[in-house]
């Protein structure tokens, strides 16, 4: 018997971490209790992207969106919505305190402005069921490619679409495929790079979790175009759910004969192997990744000979990332023209001429709605931050947007109307990267943030070449010096000099782009650096070593009645004062840890 209602419970990593599996189990139990198990189905889906409000459940066909669910809410929800037909307002999304709750998913701003290509099946299908993918038109792109198109036509279609590598570089995918196709030889590989390493970025994981077959189909089409018979997916082992779904998907595809020999009765054969990465950031670099697959240390090598000529095991190898592969089936299915309608620029003659299609970003930082968003190329940063992201938290002022992860750069508020595409971002010193987008507000110190990213890159540097190993470490040291008030203006010069040198001479892109956060921050926020080195002050009060903590004695005495909390919290015993009387801080003893600031309930601690 068909079901009348489907409960789409999000089982992306974010929601699973928030007990969505438990919610699913409770739902099933509750439905059974009410005798609804034959009428109402519970489906686990991939990530919906709105991870900030997980766990999420969508009730279909009504399209009611529930957020922040707890398993204790379930009996009430089932009773109200599923039996009595009354959607429960208190679990719905509320954009702001003043506004009423929005019951329907499609009406929520976060979802409204998104254009879904790579994530088109998210929340709609059970990623562990190939039938549902097929029902959504899955594998018809492959069918079309195999039966109606020659390999060259496939490559040409991708080339025409203007699809560019979503992993960061933005290299036109079609050109890459074409180059690979031209290299002679029988053995050639395609690789899906699922070694997503940028902190805070999780679009690849999300795509695999919600729609693994899209990736498989993309690889199949690519392999057909380029004449490869063996594919690899290099996925980090820290993505257990993605890995499991991918393994299941591959098994299902094999069962259906969509992987293996004589696919759709043609001569085409293709198989996929999964290689689990150990999570080194540098292994996201193509040559390091291939070295890792080969069982060698994950170190990059010089790419004066491209991997499409000599890649994995020295055979021609085409590596694309998850999102790129996931776009391919749609392009083949709906045609290049459809794809070029979305995005910026003109790619009819020059594949570098624009950015087409959509890009998935992971929106994090000081924005109201955090999560994964797929937006058309050319959308402005402002739209992403304010319309989709719901603006800055707590009504603060935006300071900068950091795009492209640790290799990207800071974009100041003045440039918020910048259309987001590969070339525009690069022009301002940042990059698209794999799609990280971190919003910084006025409480964020630019030096501190640059230091954060540098710390990441210097720790993740493989250590092979000197500029990256020694250089990023020195850059970090200088930033550290600046953040504790030991920096000089010469240091800033040296930092810049060193940064440019590292960009120029590093062996791979990790080193070559590592200084981007420093360079862009120096470019757009020079003043803030100068304040750090000249006045030894941090305007955002984030560099604690530059802060001076004092106690407003009046507040302390009258409002807080000398509660002693700060005194107890101070690890240096630097706070004095009798209970019920005003306290004060001995600046000589204070190590500026900020514990008292966090401890005070009355905002009596002042920071300067």
């Amino acid at each position: 018997m068909a079901y009348r209602t489907y409960l789409m419970v999000c089982a992306g990593t974010g929601c699973v971490a928030n007990q969505s599996i438990k919610i699913k189990d409770t739902l099933i139990k509750e439905l059974e209790k009410k005798g609804l198990q034959d009428e109402v189905a519970v489906v686990t889906t991939g990530c919906n992207g709105f991870c900030g409000v997980g766990p999420i459940m969508v009730v279909q066909p009504d399209g009611i969106f529930y957020q922040l669910l707890k398993s204790s809410d379930i009996p009430y929800l089932v009773e109200e919505h599923l039996i009595k037909g009354r959607p429960v307002k208190k679990f719905m999304y509320i954009p702001s305190e003043k506004e009423p709750p929005i019951p329907k998913m499609s009406d929520i701003d976060f979802f409204k402005k998104q254009v879904l290509i790579a994530l088109r099946n998210r929340g709609l299908i059970d990623p562990e069921k190939i039938e549902e993918y097929i029902a959504r038109g899955g594998y018809s792109g492959l069918a079309k490619a195999l039966t109606e198109m020659t390999p060259d036509q496939v490559i040409n279609e991708v080339k025409k679409s203007g699809l560019r590598g979503r992993g960061g570089g933005g290299f036109p995918t079609g050109i890459k495929w074409e180059t690979m196709k031209k290299v002679p030889g029988d053995v050639r590989f395609v690789i899906c790079n699922a070694d997503e390493g940028d902190p805070g970025a999780f679009m690849d994981r999300s795509i695999i979790e919600s729609d693994p077959h899209a990736v498989i189909e993309g690889m199949l089409i690519g392999a057909y175009g380029m004449g490869s018979t063996q594919g690899y997916v290099y996925i980090r082992n820290e993505y257990p759910i993605a890995l499991e779904r991918l393994l299941k998907a591959i098994a299902q595809a094999k069962e259906y004969g969509l992987l293996g020999e004589n696919i759709f009765g043609t001569d085409f054969k293709f198989d996929i192997r999964i290689i689990r990465g150990a999570g080194a950031f540098v292994c996201g670099e193509s040559t390091a990744l291939m070295a890792s697959i080969q069982g060698m240390p994950g170190e990059p090598r010089a790419k004066y000979v491209h991997t499409v000529e000599k890649g994995l095991f020295d055979f021609p190898t085409c590596l694309n990332n998850v999102e790129t592969w996931a776009n391919v089936p749609q392009i083949i299915q709906k045609g290049a023209e459809w794809f070029t309608q979305i995005g910026t620029g003109d790619v009819t003659n020059d594949p570098w001429g624009g950015s087409k299609g959509t890009k998935v970003f992971s929106l994090t930082g000081k924005v109201v709605n955090t999560g994964l968003v797929e937006v058309p190329m050319g959308i402005t940063l402002r739209e992403i931050i304010y319309d989709i992201g719901g603006g800055i938290k707590d009504g603060k002022k935006i300071k900068a947007v950091q795009t492209g992860g640790p290799s990207g750069g800071f974009i100041p508020e003045s440039m918020l109307d910048l259309p987001v595409d590969f070339d525009e971002l690069t022009k301002v010193g940042s990059m698209m990267g794999s799609g990280g987008m971190i919003i910084a507000d006025e409480d964020n110190c630019i030096v501190d943030m640059a230091k954060y990213f540098l710390n990441f890159t210097q720790e993740e540097s493989c250590g092979k070449c000197i500029p990256c190993r020694e250089g990023t470490k020195r850059m970090y040291d200088i930033l550290e010096n600046i953040s504790v008030g030991k920096g000089t203006e010469e240091d800033l010069e040296l930092l810049e000099d060193l940064s440019y040198m590292v960009v120029e001479s590093s062996l791979c892109a990790l080193g070559g782009s590592a200084p981007n956060p420093v360079l862009t921050s120096l470019k757009y926020f020079k003043d803030e650096y100068l304040t750090h080195v000249r006045e030894k002050k941090c305007p955002a009060k984030a560099c604690r070593q530059l802060n001076v903590y004092t106690i407003d004695e009046e507040i302390c005495a009258t409002v807080g009645h000398g509660c002693d909390l700060c005194k107890k919290s101070c690890p240096d015993f630097a706070i004095f004062g009798e209970t019920k009387k005003a306290h004060h801080i001995d600046q000589m003893k204070c190590h500026k840890c900020g514990a008292c600031y966090d401890a005070c309930n009355f905002k009596a601690i002042k920071v300067e």
């Binding site: 080194a280 540098v282 240390p297 090598r301 010089a302 004066y304 000979v305 210097q458 720790e459 993740e460 540097s461 493989c462 250590g463 092979k464 070449c465 000197i466 500029p467 190993r469 020694e470 250089g471 990023t472 470490k473 020195r474 040291d477 040296l494 000099d497 060193l498 040198m501 120029e504 001479s505 590093s506 062996l507």
Partner: protein, 593 residues
């Protein structure tokens, strides 16, 4: 796939250079006499490209690009600038980074000076112990993995924590001690800990470093080089293989292996020779501990005109010895070591004395117990030596010590009692030659087991009869000759071997052999195949017939000892000549009287 080499013209610093396509910029520049700095480049390895000092600017049209010269392949029309401001700027900062991290490493210092970096802008990181001169160029790791194929060394840690380590930071068994890593290390950080070469352990006249390919001994027949399997990298790890590239006739074959060849023979002559007694067992003689104390074989090697000294007799420091002591009976005729006389030492000791006299002005002292110059012309030679002025001291040497008087260079002091004059003497010499005992070959016991022959109590092989049949053994068809049977000199060995050969030949020409009639055999009707007798026979004459499920005795192998006869619980084995009935009858007869 044969690929014709295409020559291309490239422009390096304004010079037009014609080189083969795909040559690296570094090599092309080198050909043109242009120096490009590099710290990690090694001709032996694929460029690893880590120091980046060889960064150069490649200009294509208006666009220029920084690449590393060590691994950038040249193409037609490439324009390279190795000395632009940008290049200099990059090199300078790189050098600053390196210099500040390894301020005490000479090669880094040198390079820094050459690149005019005197005071780096970075804080000197002397957190590295001054000994740590590893600049992480990776050459050692790469040569170990790619060339030697041992993969012993590897990097550990990433980023600034990267370092070169052995597996689990322990001396690895995989390391074949080839020394390739030390060879490619640009800073000399890798040192080879020399394994203490113990003199006594010197084998095959090994007196110094030698290549993995060598001619085993000077008199080797055939005189062709062989590969020492234990030190050849190719044999150990499958790496290297340079010699085969080098050898034009293609004579090098790594596939050759020691193989066991089964050859069916009717007779065997065992001439497995002897071992030289290790004088280190007599510590008071100082062999292996004191310089200039040699054993006879060392000295023989020194005397050899193709030996390490070209035949001159000299002390370790190269000086001519002023006096030489030759000590007889080292280990022979000694209750504590070998009780027997080694027979050859007296005469070769006299020969040594003669040669020392002949080649140097040194005084020669012979320390002997008894002179045994028993052979033809031997006594005459002894007489001649006495005439030559060799000092003969009758007495067993007690000790050899190293002494030094008044700060002069140390010499050796031989202490012994001169039994002829009844006085204790201390004789200063510069060199001592020990004449060690001849002892049975070290694997004699193994050979004994294989061939089922016997050893006499001194462990030499036992002859059938000491007087009447000194060349055959108790096992028919197996003969012995030379020092395998007992110490003897060359004439005796030749005589014995010839006799053995003659015996063998006579048997061959006879075409058949007669065997002793005392044999055991299995009575099939009574054997039930319990297999108790199966491993009793040292001559493996007993086998188990799987088809009949009974045991069987090969009469040709059987020596008739009768052990199996006694053991057979079914009395199914009888011993011809010594049957149960016969022995019992004998008993009956003996005991009734």
């Amino acid at each position: 796939m044969e690929r014709s080499i295409r020559m291309v013209t490239v422009n390096i610093d304004g010079k037009k250079i014609e080189v083969a396509e795909d040559t690296t910029i570094l090599k092309a520049a080198e050909a043109a006499g242009i120096w490009i700095p590099s710290m990690c480049y090694s001709d032996l390895l694929e460029p690893y490209g880590v120091c980046r000092l060889c960064s150069v600017e490649v200009i294509r049209g208006k666009r220029s690009r920084i690449v590393t010269a060590c691994n950038y392949p040249v193409r037609e029309g490439l324009t390279v600038n190795t000395n632009s401001d940008k290049v200099k700027w990059i090199r300078k900062i790189l050098m600053e980074l390196m210099y500040s991290r390894w301020p005490n490493v000479p090669v880094v210092k040198e390079m820094a000076e050459r690149l005019e970096v005197t005071k780096p802008r970075f804080v000197s990181l002397e957190r590295d112990e001054s000994e740590n001169a590893c600049i992480l160029c990776g050459n050692c790791v790469n040569i170990c993995r790619d060339v030697v194929k041992a993969s012993v060394l590897s990097f550990e840690g990433i980023g600034i924590e990267r370092k070169v380590v052995l597996p689990f930071n322990e001396q690895s068994e995989t390391c074949i001690s080839c020394g390739a890593c030390a060879y490619v290390c640009p800073t000399g950080h890798i040192k080879i800990k020399s394994l203490e070469t113990e003199r006594g352990a010197l084998q095959d006249f090994y007196l110094g470093p030698k290549s993995a390919i060598n001619i085993p001994t000077l008199q080797a027949v055939p005189r062709v080089p062989v590969i020492d399997k234990n030190s050849c990298i190719k044999m150990q790890t499958g790496g290297c293989g340079i010699c085969s590239e080098f050898c034009e006739p293609g004579a090098i074959n790594y596939e050759m292996k020691d193989e066991e060849v089964d050859i069916e023979v009717g007779q065997i002559l065992v001439t497995t020779g002897f071992n030289l007694f290790d004088p280190q067992q007599i510590p008071q003689y100082g062999y292996g501990r004191l310089d200039n104390v040699y054993n006879s074989l060392d000295f023989e090697f020194m005397l050899n005109s193709t030996g390490p000294t070209g035949g001159t007799i000299q002390c370790k420091d190269g000086s001519e010895p002023r006096a030489v002591g030759i000590i007889h009976c080292v280990g022979s005729r000694d209750e504590n070591y070998k009780k027997y006389c080694s027979r050859v030492c007296c005469m070769y000791a006299l020969k040594f004395a003669h040669l020392v006299k002949d080649r140097t002005k040194a005084e020669v002292y012979q320390f002997y117990i008894d002179m045994r110059a028993f052979g033809k012309g031997y006594e005459e030679f002894y007489k001649r030596l006495l005439d030559e002025g060799v000092n003969m001291i009758r007495g067993k040497v007690a000790e050899i010590t190293e002494e030094s008087y008044n700060g002069n260079k140390p010499h050796l002091l031989v202490k012994c009692e001169d039994t002829l004059i009844g006085k204790f003497r201390e004789i200063p010499v510069d060199m001592v030659i020990l004449c060690p005992a001849i002892e049975p070959a070290q694997d004699a016991a193994k050979i004994k087991k294989i061939l089922s022959i016997s050893q006499s109590p001194d462990k030499f092989f036992l002859e059938r009869h000491p007087k009447l049949d000194p060349i055959s053994t108790m096992t028919d068809g197996i003969f012995i000759a030379g020092c395998a049977q007992g110490p003897k000199d060359i004439p005796d060995s030749v005589a014995q071997a010839s006799a053995a050969a003659a015996r063998i030949l006579s048997l061959i020409s006879l075409g058949e052999v007669s065997v002793d009639p005392i044999k055991a055999n299995v009575i099939e009707e009574f054997c039930s195949g319990c297999r108790i007798c199966n491993n009793l026979c040292p001559y493996t004459a007993i086998s188990f017939l799987e088809d009949k499920k009974i045991s069987d005795i090969n009469e040709m192998l059987c020596k008739g000892c009768g052990t199996c006869v006694a053991a057979c619980p079914a009395s199914a084995i009888t011993g011809k000549g010594f049957t149960d009935e016969q022995i019992l009858a004998e008993l009956e007869g003996l005991l009734t009287v």
